[in-house]
């Protein structure tokens, strides 16, 4: 169908904004990767960072620290958010309390990360020091959990909401208990959405800097346990750049971060597509 003339202008504007979004993404990715990738090699990934006061070195201990804080935050926020979403969607009625909880999650998601970091510092690092080891990847991970929680809670809730009521009725109608209906029909059907929520939270956790700055410590040493202070990649990037003006290590770390996030996104996307298609029988 030919486009009418008066529709041409808005159409062109929309088209341009779409292109611009893509263009900005490509520019950032290309810039970081072009500057960072040449530095990334096996040695960079597996060597320890340089000691205090020197530039260069690898990022091995920071990768481990990132995995640790992210793992802690997911291990804490994942079950709580999925469980909370199931509770809210399946066991409570749409009422005042539920709206309050949803609003609270929204506000929590909107709190500036440095403020969350401050809370993490006061609560986990200072107040709970005997249990968290003070500055530690555990404190950092727990603080990050606060940021992951609202994201995956809301996404999981939305995913559960899209499961048709007929499937629940079908299951209950066959004499399944509510719990059986949830575990055998509702959650498996909503799983792609739930996983997407967790991945979004994971991305947030990997990329977070400010909250980590105040809670994880920042020690360059390889951590031995969750009670040790550590320096995740984002913090390392910030540090080498601000303290030593070591732009090449920064670019290299940034490239690894970006590749990691891209890889996680694409792999889960692919897995979830396969899962969804299997459900749909394609």
């Amino acid at each position: 169908m030919p486009v009418k003339r008066r529709e041409m202008v808005p159409l062109a504007l929309l088209w341009a904004s779409g292109i611009a979004t893509l263009f900005i993404l490509i520019v950032i990715l290309a810039f970081i990767l072009a500057n960072g990738l040449p530095l990334v090699n096996w040695n960079f990934l597996t060597a320890e960072p340089s000691v205090w006061g020197q530039t260069g070195g690898g990022i091995y201990s920071t990768i481990v620290a990132t995995l640790a804080v992210t793992g802690v935050s997911l291990a804490v926020a994942g079950p709580i958010s999925v469980g909370g979403a199931i509770y809210l969607n399946e066991y409570t009625k749409e009422n005042f309390l539920r709206r309050i909880i949803r609003q609270a999650a929204e506000i929590l998601a909107g709190i500036p990360s440095i403020v969350v970091g401050l809370f993490g510092f006061l609560f986990f690092v200072i107040y709970l020091a005997p249990y968290t080891g003070g500055w530690s990847v555990l404190s950092g991970g727990l603080t990050l959990a606060f940021m992951v929680l609202p994201i995956s809670l809301r996404t999981s809730e939305e995913a559960l909401k899209t499961v048709p009521a007929e499937l629940r009725e079908g299951s209950l109608g066959l004499g399944a208990t509510k719990w059986q209906a949830i575990t055998t029909v509702v959650v498996p059907t909503a799983l792609p959405g739930i996983v997407t929520g967790l991945i979004l939270g994971l991305g947030r956790a990997i990329g977070e800097t400010a909250a980590i700055l105040l809670t994880a410590g920042g020690a360059l040493n390889l951590i031995n346990s969750l009670y040790d202070p550590g320096r995740p990649m984002t913090l390392h990037l910030y540090d080498v750049l601000t303290e030593y003006r070591d732009t090449s290590t920064a670019y290299g770390t940034a490239a690894v971060l970006i590749i990691a996030i891209l890889a996680i996104t694409f792999i889960t996307d692919w897995l979830m597509n396969r899962y969804t298609n299997k459900l749909k029988g394609l």
Binding site: E169, S171, G173, L174, G175, T184, P188
Partner: protein
């Protein structure tokens, strides 16, 4: 109670909040027959059958009075084992609602939630149920395919097979053929005719010809009231109530 009566409903009233959806319904559902419920949208017929397997429990703000006697007990009592009740009184819905699982897993779903794990026993149940639902010949070579790949009519028969797998006594069907084409519809109707030998069937339908074809008894609901309940031929050939006459001749409103 009369041996030929499966479910006896006495003075059943139901409110959603302040709205009274069912008004003092009394009806005896005959055993091993097809009973059709007809009436305009919103007349309470779907609400009525949902009461029979306590599906209205899922809705907020429901208040029910009266009795629904099944196997000598009032199933509306608080101490009714709802899970067991729903096993015996199963429901097929308007839109086919197969689970996003394989054909096999759909049919095996009910037996599995009731604790049957033995593979051989499950195989037998799945085959038997699919045969009873006249679907076995069409799917026997692709039991592991997703149920969502079946056509609408096949999906509906799968849902019936899924229900038969838990060995119910009563089948409640809420407009089971309204989303299907005429050929798929006639297959479902033929199936009902076969199934009534073993099961008591209550079917809600908007399609009066369907009611006339499949049911031995027909009940006409209007605005939450049971207006007339008679043998199907009497209801369609010589209704006693003017409102039934107006509805079945299509001169309603």
């Amino acid at each position: 109670m009369d041996d030929n009566v499966e479910i006896s409903v006495k003075n059943l009233s139901l409110w959603f909040g302040k709205f009274q959806a069912l008004k003092n319904i009394s009806i005896a559902i005959p055993k091993n027959e097809v009973t059709a419920l007809i009436g305009p949208s919103g007349c309470g017929k779907s609400t009525f059958i949902k009461t029979l397997d306590r599906m209205n429990d899922l809705v907020d703000n429901v208040r029910i009075t009266g009795e629904v006697i099944y196997k000598g007990r009032n199933i509306l009592d608080d101490d009714t084992d709802v899970v067991q009740l729903r096993k015996e009184i199963g429901m097929v819905f308007q839109k086919p609602n197969p689970f996003p699982k394989s054909i096999y897993d759909n049919v095996a779903y009910g037996p599995r939630v009731h604790g049957i794990k033995d593979r051989k026993a499950l195989n037998d149940i799945v085959e038997g149920s699919l045969r009873k639902a006249a679907l076995w010949d069409e799917v026997s070579d692709r039991l592991n395919e997703s149920a969502l790949r079946l056509s609408g009519g096949q999906q509906q028969r799968l849902c019936i097979a899924r229900l038969l797998a838990v060995e119910p006594n009563v089948l409640l069907m809420d407009e089971p053929a309204s989303a299907l084409d005429p050929i798929a519809t006639s297959k479902i109707e033929d199936l009902l005719y076969e199934l009534k030998r073993e099961y008591t069937i209550i079917i809600v339908t908007h399609n009066m010809q369907q009611a006339a074809r499949v049911a031995t008894h027909t009940a006409f609901f209007l605005l939450g009231e049971l207006i007339e309940y008679a043998s199907t031929i009497d209801l369609f050939e010589r209704p006693r109530d003017k409102r039934t006459e107006d509805y079945v001749t299509g001169k309603f409103g």
